[in-house]
């Protein structure tokens, strides 16, 4: 009740002083101390918070470290029915042998760290919290001082106002006397508490510094010890398992990692099951196409697609082996997209090494112009194109699957270049691309 009464009587002054109607006394010395004290209060709060953050981070670090080791170990051990990982992956044998040891080391480390963290809790966070409670007491004293100051200013203001009043009434005189008394009390109270604070503040600041010294030192050694524990464990593990953990730049670790990286990455990327399914029916069609392709002359496909064009130059047409011939005609037409890869009739105008071989094969093209006779022949033979064919050199005849081509000259083998006419254009084409009607 007393508190509320006081607060009420102080309120008008708080308002008037805020808007500059009433004078407020200032003690620069005290304000300076108070600013310092406020920053210390914040510091204490921060140190408690950050210590907590640090402890949590350390806990996380070691928990996550242990968890990482555990899961890594599971991955590097046979899963369910698997057997003999080392046999299958001799290059990873070192890792496979050591994951378990690593897991144990990390678990031990996590247990080792427990007491350290407890130490931080009791020896650092504890005292810091104590300090904070001491500061709260001081803060209370400061608030009290502020109230006393308000009282002092309030009475001071009223007193000056009354004194300055030109003609005072009787009651004014009475009030003046009462105010003088109040003012004296307020002055005494304020002076007392203000001086006490000013006297004790420097002492407190000193103590705060003295307080932080041993606290900091302790904390420092605890932190150092955490790093030491980790370092020691890592080194003993590395020594035992023959890992080189000398301190090298991080970039080097990354680089050496890159060097050790195997083709597992690309192999995985080529797996079908990691590719999104667009449409199952399309997949089915593709697999059908693939199957039929494999059934149609693998020999032809491999020889043409697998070898780069340079080797084809040497003698492309002959390499389309005889075996391919029959199977080509039997095969269902592959879809256009895969067709290109499967059955190109690759050759290039022979120029160098393969000249002789290719020349014999390419021999037919020149003659046609000299042989207009077949046209005169009574019967005109037609062949039907089985696949699309695009001209690859001058003198080639392009056509689409299904075109009827007038056969001008037929070589002995389907593996050779035949001559034909389509839409008035005459040219050569691979014999195995067409079917005789």
């Amino acid at each position: 009740m007393k508190g509320i009464g006081k607060a009420l009587s102080r309120t008008p002054f708080a308002v008037t002083s805020k808007i500059g109607m009433a004078k407020r006394s200032v003690d620069p010395e005290f304000d300076d101390y108070q600013r310092h004290f406020a920053s210390l209060e914040q510091a204490a709060e921060k140190i408690i918070k950050d210590t907590k953050a640090f402890t949590e981070a350390v806990t996380n670090l070691f928990t996550a470290g242990a968890g990482f080791a555990t899961h890594f170990t599971v991955i590097f051990q046979p899963i369910a029915g698997e057997y003999d990982l080392i046999g299958k992956h001799p290059e990873a044998a070192h890792t496979i042998r050591n994951v378990t040891k690593y897991e144990t080391a990390m678990q031990e480390l996590r247990e080792l760290i427990g007491p350290e963290l407890e130490l931080i809790e009791t020896r650092i966070s504890g005292p810091a919290k104590e300090l904070q409670s001491v500061m709260k007491l001081i803060r209370k004293t400061i608030t009290k001082r502020d109230h006393k100051l308000t009282d002092y200013d309030r009475f001071n203001n009223s007193l000056t106002k009354l004194r300055d009043k030109k003609d005072k009434s009787l009651s004014d005189e009475k009030n003046l006397f009462k105010l003088e008394q109040d003012f004296e009390v307020a002055t005494n109270e304020y002076e007392y508490i203000n001086n006490a604070l000013k006297q004790d503040f420097p002492r407190f600041m000193m103590l705060a510094t003295q307080f932080i010294d041993p606290l900091f030192n302790s904390f420092f050694y605890m932190q150092l010890n955490i790093y030491y524990l980790l370092l020691e464990k890592m080194h003993s593990f590395a020594d035992e398992s023959k890992y080189d953990v000398s301190n090298v730049p991080g970039a080097q670790i990354a680089q050496e990692y890159e060097e050790k990286r195997t083709d597992a990455w690309s192999v995985i990327e080529n797996l079908g099951i990691i590719k999104r399914i667009v449409s199952v029916s399309r997949l089915v069609q593709q697999s059908r196409a693939q199957n039929s392709q494999t059934s149609l002359g693998r020999s032809a496909t491999t020889s043409t697609t697998a070898s780069p064009s340079s080797s084809l130059r040497a003698g492309a047409p002959p390499t389309r082996s005889v075996s391919g011939a029959s199977s080509y005609t039997k095969a269902a037409p592959p879809p256009p997209s895969s067709f290109q890869a499967a059955a190109p009739p690759p050759y290039t105008p022979s120029s160098s090494a393969g000249a002789s071989a290719a020349a014999t094969k390419r021999a037919p093209p020149p003659p046609p112009p000299l042989k207009p006779k077949p046209k005169a022949a009574p019967e005109v033979k037609y062949v039907v194109a089985l696949y699309d064919f695009t001209a690859q050199a001058d003198g080639d005849l392009s056509f689409n699957a299904g075109d009827r081509i007038e056969l001008v000259e037929k070589a002995e083998s389907a593996e050779d270049w035949w001559t034909g006419r389509l839409n008035g254009v005459q040219g050569v084409f691979p014999g195995n691309y067409v079917q005789e009607t």
């Binding site: 981070a57 890594f72 705060a208 670790i253």
Partner: protein, 264 residues
């Protein structure tokens, strides 16, 4: 969902129900089930590993960041009274080394950690949803196949009036079987491959992890231990003997006795 997709899912729901009640027999594929079980273990472990690897990195960062902030706060304490004391010097040295640890060091390890740990794990974990999609698709097609087969069987057992029905059912059965077989065969062939490849895939990460952990410990230890030079000679022993704690307690007591703490 499209209308076709909706129709499919309704049909499949019906099939599942009929299977549960034993009206339609269910295809059991031991081989696939085994592979799937193994894959599930792998998937779970990989995801846990990814989580832990991230937590590890975050903790490493948080640890040095907290140290850096603590160092900053210490400066505030020292500046309250005596800026040139031995303690203040040590505090300053401490700040320098933890700042160094926090910025330079973590920056140095940032990229390597990502290349050697986070990325391989992230990539592997990104494959799982796609693989799961394949498995889900396979399971759906299996339901379709089961239902088509049972329809066909019924027609054979009890021939219909309509002669076109049987070949149609036969064709549907064949188509479903083809789809299912394709997906199933692919999974059975490739799941073990994926699992097997995990060893060469993750192998280099292990050594990198060890080296980075060791590096973190070593850098931290070395940078911090340099600060000791600024300490008074007896500090280390005092710490070991628990003297420092006593000092802290003593000062707190003195503070409480100050008149401004209400101790008068």
């Amino acid at each position: 969902m499209s209308w076709a997709g909706f129709k499919k899912s309704v049909n499949r729901a019906g099939t599942t129900l009929l299977q549960k009640t034993g009206q339609i027999e269910r295809t059991v594929d031991r081989e696939f089930a085994d592979e799937e079980a193994k894959y599930r273990i792998f998937e779970k472990e990989c995801q846990a590993l990814q989580k832990d690897s991230k937590a590890y990195w975050d903790a490493m960062r948080a640890m040095t960041a907290a140290q850096s902030r603590i160092a900053e706060t210490l400066e505030t304490f020292y500046s309250a009274a005596d800026r040139t004391s031995e303690g203040a010097m040590a505090g300053h040295a401490y700040k320098r080394s933890v700042d160094d640890l926090d910025t330079t060091f973590t920056r140095e390890l940032d990229v390597p950690y990502r290349t050697t740990i986070s990325e391989p794990l992230g990539k592997m974990c990104a494959y799982f949803p796609v693989v799961n999609e394949h498995i889900a698709k396979r399971n759906k097609k299996l339901l379709d196949y089961d239902s088509a087969r049972s329809k066909l069987k019924k027609l054979i057992d009890k021939p219909s009036e309509d002669p076109t029905k049987l070949p149609k059912a036969q064709q549907e059965n064949d188509e479903c079987k083809e789809m299912f077989d394709m997906l199933n065969d692919q999974l059975i062939a490739e799941l073990p491959q994926l699992l097997d490849l995990r060893v060469p895939y993750f192998d280099p990460s292990f050594e990198a992890m060890i080296r980075m952990q060791a590096k973190f410990a070593e850098e931290g230890y070395e940078k911090l231990s340099g600060v000791q030079r600024y300490f008074a000679d007896n500090v280390r022993d005092d710490y070991a003997a628990g003297q420092l704690d006593a000092q802290v307690e003593g000062i707190l007591q003195e503070m409480r006795e100050l008149s401004i703490c209400g101790g008068n």
